[in-house]
């Protein structure tokens, strides 16, 4: 079980939240990017072994959308890596 920190409610059980997917890089200008990078942005979902930034929705709580870093190896909520954008 994960405890997810909600900025309004504090730490809450993961079952109160809905997963909102990983945070994706911002959308490139399709006219200014090459086909390979554009296709990569459209089709590749961040799936690292380690910290990943994710959206979660506190749907069964206060309704806040929040962003956390989660380590995919341990499910621990972790600090943003130093090289995070």
């Amino acid at each position: 079980m994960m405890q997810i920190p909600c900025p309004f409610c504090g730490p809450r059980n993961e079952s109160e939240f809905f997963y909102g997917g990983p945070v994706r890089p911002s959308r490139p200008d399709p006219a200014a990017v090459n086909d390979e990078d554009w296709t990569a942005w459209l089709t590749q979902v961040p799936n690292p072994l380690g910290p990943v930034q994710e959206h979660w929705w506190h749907a069964r709580g206060c309704g806040t959308w929040l962003t956390i870093w989660r380590d995919t190896r341990t499910h621990d909520v972790v600090e943003a890596p130093d090289d995070a954008g």
Partner: protein
């Protein structure tokens, strides 16, 4: 062995959903409301009405059903300024009162939150889960009150019955 609790479904409660910044809510409806609670997931009571701070810029006003018309006349939802919204939602939640020496045992089965008095005191009011569905949990004299979406009322009654026996 059955738990020493009693639970009852309360009559429909007057409920108003208020969205907007604290200042806007207070300016429009301050005189009709208890003072806006300061802490997230807390409540204030005055004049038989309870105001709960249930989310960012989100408040829920609860009172006896007999006061619904008077509250609506004071809150004037249709005339509220554009920076806020007031909606009467009395029909949306079914409330259950769970009281008795072992009320907290039943809530511990139902709800993943730590409801110990040191963490969840008499002034607390929070949406969380009860038996896997979204629920508004508060303390009351001798136990807890749990509000769930109206259509889950029969399921809630069934879960409380099975958890307590």
């Amino acid at each position: 062995m059955p738990y020493d609790v009693t639970f009852t479904r309360l009559e429909t409660q007057a409920l108003f959903d208020l969205k907007g910044r604290r200042e806007a809510v207070q300016e429009w409806a301050g005189e009709a409301l208890p003072a806006c609670p300061d802490q997230p997931n807390s409540k204030t009571e005055a004049g038989g009405a309870t105001l709960m701070f249930i989310g960012p810029d989100h408040w829920l006003l609860r009172a006896d059903l007999a006061r619904e018309a008077a509250l609506e006349a004071t809150l004037r939802p249709a005339e509220a300024p554009p920076e806020m919204s007031i909606v009467r939602v009395s029909d949306t939640l079914a409330f259950f009162r769970v009281i008795g020496p072992e009320a907290s045992e039943i809530l511990a089965i139902a709800c993943p939150m730590d409801l110990h008095e040191s963490r969840f005191g008499p002034d607390t009011a929070s949406f969380t889960e009860a038996f896997g569905i979204k629920a508004l949990v508060t303390r009351c004299e001798g136990g807890f009150e749990v509000g769930v979406e109206q259509s889950f009322g029969p399921m809630m009654l069934d879960c409380l019955t099975r958890a307590s026996c």
